[in-house]
């Protein structure tokens, strides 16, 4: 496979995954805030700021009153905002375009349909009444894409590269959500005797990662900070956990590099090392300093992405 095209496929995977997480984050936060148990969480400004924080464009001015329609438009459909869902899907398609000969017709058609859906979605309807419809469709279409990736591609190096992109992005986005909700939980604590560890934000976080139901089944208790973080970071069986994503990345890098003993400068070695670190971590360690822990994960994921770039895309 051409190095240039491999790079494009890696990013196709990342952009597909990214658009889904942003869409779900908007959806869950907006709708769960409508009847949230405390006033801070119910506050529209609070929700809008949380959304902007999540997409990497936090509002710096604490006194500015945000307009709901503007924020929704910016994150959803603004062609001039780099991280909007529209631009993510556009990038995903553009990357798919350049690798059109390598991916299946079915996958390409699904991406293309997705793009036209987002592109044609009427702005007025979206900001006034279409938030639910739009974000649910984005989530579902990305699920279809994952199905097409899994079900119509040869499980070879092309597949491995796409899935590495998907999983690195998933771990990154889940970590970003944790970070955002961690901040939200800090902001809401102390209001009406809300305790940080029992904040409603944890349930919202789990829903943002589509993991709420399974978390309830696993712990059979109301989510707390510690159980939520454990589930979303360390539980290898939770398909949205950082651990699970790292396992997937490790599995796929082995397709690209099937050696038994890895050179210490290889991507496979680095991924194995990061993965081993989280495999033998316990949540109490993390809880002591969540902030630096989050920074560490994001840095490790970045390092892996850079290493992949250096080893496979740079000839």
């Amino acid at each position: 496979m051409l190095a240039r095209v491999a790079n494009n496929l890696f990013w196709m995977g990342r952009y597909i995954e990214r658009s889904e997480h942003i869409a779900r984050y908007m959806n869950v936060n907006y709708f769960s805030s409508l009847d949230a148990p405390n006033q801070v969480s119910q506050n529209r400004q609070f929700v809008l700021r949380s959304m902007l924080f999540m997409v990497g464009a936090p509002e710096q001015d604490p006194n500015k009153i945000l307009k709901e329609e503007d924020v929704l438009f910016k994150i959803g459909l603004d062609p001039n905002f780099e991280f909007s869902i529209l631009n993510n899907v556009k990038q995903a398609r553009e990357n798919a375009n350049s690798a059109r000969d390598l991916i299946s017709t079915e996958l390409y058609e699904a991406i293309n349909k997705f793009y036209h859906f987002v592109l044609k979605y009427p702005k007025e309807i979206f900001v006034k009444s279409g938030l639910y419809d739009f974000t649910i469709n984005v989530s579902e279409m990305s699920a279809i894409l994952r199905g097409k990736i899994r079900g119509t591609l040869l499980h070879d190096s092309i597949y491995a590269i796409i899935l590495m992109g998907v999983n690195i992005e998933r771990a990154t986005q889940v970590t970003r959500m944790i970070n955002t909700k961690y901040n939200d939980a800090l902001l809401t604590q102390g209001n009406h005797d809300i305790m940080f560890s029992k904040s409603a934000e944890w349930a919202t976080l789990l829903k943002c990662a589509e993991s709420y139901d399974m978390m309830r089944r696993f712990y059979k208790k109301t989510p707390t900070s510690i159980s939520t973080l454990e589930f979303l970071i360390l539980n290898p069986n939770c398909p949205r956990s950082v651990m699970n994503a790292l396992n997937q990345v490790y599995k796929n890098v082995k397709i690209l590099n099937p050696e038994k003993r890895y050179n210490k400068n290889s991507t496979a070695f680095l991924i194995g090392r990061v993965r081993a670190e989280y495999q033998y971590k316990y949540i109490e360690e993390i809880e002591q300093d969540i902030k630096s822990f989050i920074e560490n994960i994001l840095k490790s994921l970045d390092d892996i992405s850079n290493k992949i770039n250096e080893e496979f895309f740079n000839y």
Partner: protein, 488 residues
């Protein structure tokens, strides 16, 4: 239920001056179209409007689009596709197929000759200055032996049916003829929209093009290569034919590369993969000669690969089509095709040529200048329907202008009688009904080492503007699925 039989064709207006492909001279439906006519006639116009929009969205979702650059945004458009297919029966097809192969073979021998012994020029059957003055003649190709002895691996021949019911060749395209992917997409779209109609006809498949193309590319591998590594090279995803390039690469299962993915070392060509450099043996190139290699041709080309031509001359890599083939699809060389076929093959041409006047010959120039209104004036070295003037559509002032242009550069122009392209019922969005529109046919011929193949189908292009004779997609043309019927 009201009788909706043939609601669709009830308003179809037949102009008796035109050759309508579905009606015979007495105004009756030709037998081969009878079934199709009945099936389509069984639909109401509303059904048809729905089907048409479904077919359109099928193209859209498949991403078979081209881009139009507007003032502040880029719009994606689909190539217009007509749901009423064109049928060519097996007897007629045999003529087209044999004629296409004959032309391709003759052109190949001609190219070998003019880049080697130049016998045909020395015997003055084709004038020497016609070749040396051609913008597409490449001095660098003199004495170069292309692997397998093939120059025009892929030829697209544009054929029309004239008023007399006979086929005529309008031009040969042997540089980078495009359009074959539309043949296949048109079939897919028609199947999606109206699969039922296929039950009544035994139609040849068109999806075997890619396997034949790959066979061809492998047949012309460089000497000493066992299993050749073939690739398709594209100018990139912003090229209007990018869909076709990616389609062909995908269906052949080979890499689609850009110039920047390749490099040349010690006169061998390599591509940059995730596992390091990999040698490339055969390149199906979809970039023009002058962009192939900045060291040899245009130095500012960012699309090509430095050193590629040197590797080619050494015989280490095959380029399909070979560089320098454009000299033979020059519209002035076209006029010598009957002589070229006779000279190399000792055969009479199977497909007719349209009579052509050379403005470079003083006697013919005089005739052309005096009869512009009855002629089509074509520049010899342009493709895509650009620069063509149709005499009876020009105002007096425009005629004067054309006359002036010809006088200034007589070598640049040829003239032909205005041929009347046959017409075919075509669904027109605006009027929501079927109307007569002019059509032509592009066939795709593959020539390899001990291999020849003509795709049983071809691209029927339709001029969607009423009365328009230029069918090129760059001039607002559409296309139709084209059925070649199996022998009964």
């Amino acid at each position: 239920m009201t009788n909706i039989k043939n609601q669709i064709f009830s308003s179809y207006q037949k102009n008796s001056d035109l050759y309508d492909e579905i009606y015979d001279s007495e105004g009756k439906i030709k037998p081969v179209y009878k079934k199709l006519f009945d099936i389509y006639g069984g639909h109401s116009i509303q059904d048809y409007v729905n089907l048409n929009s479904k077919a359109k969205s099928s193209f859209f979702n498949q991403g078979i689009t081209f881009q139009v650059y507007g003032e502040d945004n880029v719009q994606e458009k689909i190539f217009p596709f007509d749901l009423f297919p064109r049928i060519i029966d097996s007897d007629e097809w045999e003529i087209i197929e044999k004629g296409s192969i004959q032309r391709s073979k003759a052109l190949n021998l001609f190219l070998w000759d003019i880049y080697h012994e130049k016998n045909i020029l020395r015997e003055n059957i084709v004038p020497l200055d016609l070749i040396t003055s051609s913008a597409n003649y490449l001095d660098q190709m003199n004495g170069v032996n292309p692997p397998g002895g093939i120059y025009n691996h892929i030829s697209g021949i544009d054929i029309i049916k004239h008023k007399d019911g006979k086929y005529y060749v309008l031009e040969d395209n042997i540089r980078c003829p495009s359009g074959v992917s539309y043949v296949i997409c048109n079939r897919t779209a028609l199947k999606r929209a109206l699969f039922g109609v296929f039950n009544h006809y035994k139609t040849h498949t068109v999806t075997n093009y890619a396997e034949n193309l790959l066979d061809l590319l492998e047949s012309v591998k460089p000497k000493g290569v066992d299993v050749p590594n073939c690739v398709v090279i594209t100018p990139g995803m912003f090229n209007s034919a990018f869909y076709e390039h990616s389609y062909l690469a995908k269906t052949m299962g080979v890499e689609l590369v850009e110039g920047r993915d390749l490099f040349v070392e010690n006169d061998f060509v390599y591509m940059k993969t995730i596992k390091g450099p990999e040698k490339v043996d055969v390149i199906y190139r979809r970039i023009d000669d002058i962009f192939l290699d900045p060291l040899e041709f245009r130095p500012d080309s960012a699309l090509g690969v430095p050193g590629l031509f040197a590797a080619y001359k050494k015989g280490n890599v095959t380029l399909a089509n070979a560089p320098g083939t454009g000299v033979a699809d020059d519209k002035a060389v076209y006029t010598y095709m009957p002589e070229i076929i006779k000279y190399y093959l000792g055969e009479e041409p199977i497909l007719n040529n349209v009579h052509t006047y050379h403005c470079s010959r003083p006697s013919e120039l005089e005739y052309v200048l005096e009869n512009i209104k009855d002629l089509v004036i074509k520049p010899v070295d342009e493709a895509g329907g650009y620069g063509i003037s149709i005499g009876d559509r020009l105002t007096q002032k425009e005629i004067e202008q054309v006359r002036k242009q010809i006088k200034e550069h007589p070598r640049k122009y040829v003239a032909q009688p205005i041929m009347s392209l046959s017409v075919h019922p075509t669904y027109i969005d605006k009027s929501e009904s079927f109307e007569q529109r002019h059509v032509d046919l592009r066939t795709f011929t593959i020539l390899g080492k001990d291999k020849e193949f003509v795709l049983k189908g071809g691209l029927t292009r339709v001029a969607l503007e009423k009365g328009n004779l230029i069918v090129n997609s760059s001039q607002g043309g559409g296309s139709k699925d084209t059925w070649v019927l199996k022998k009964q």
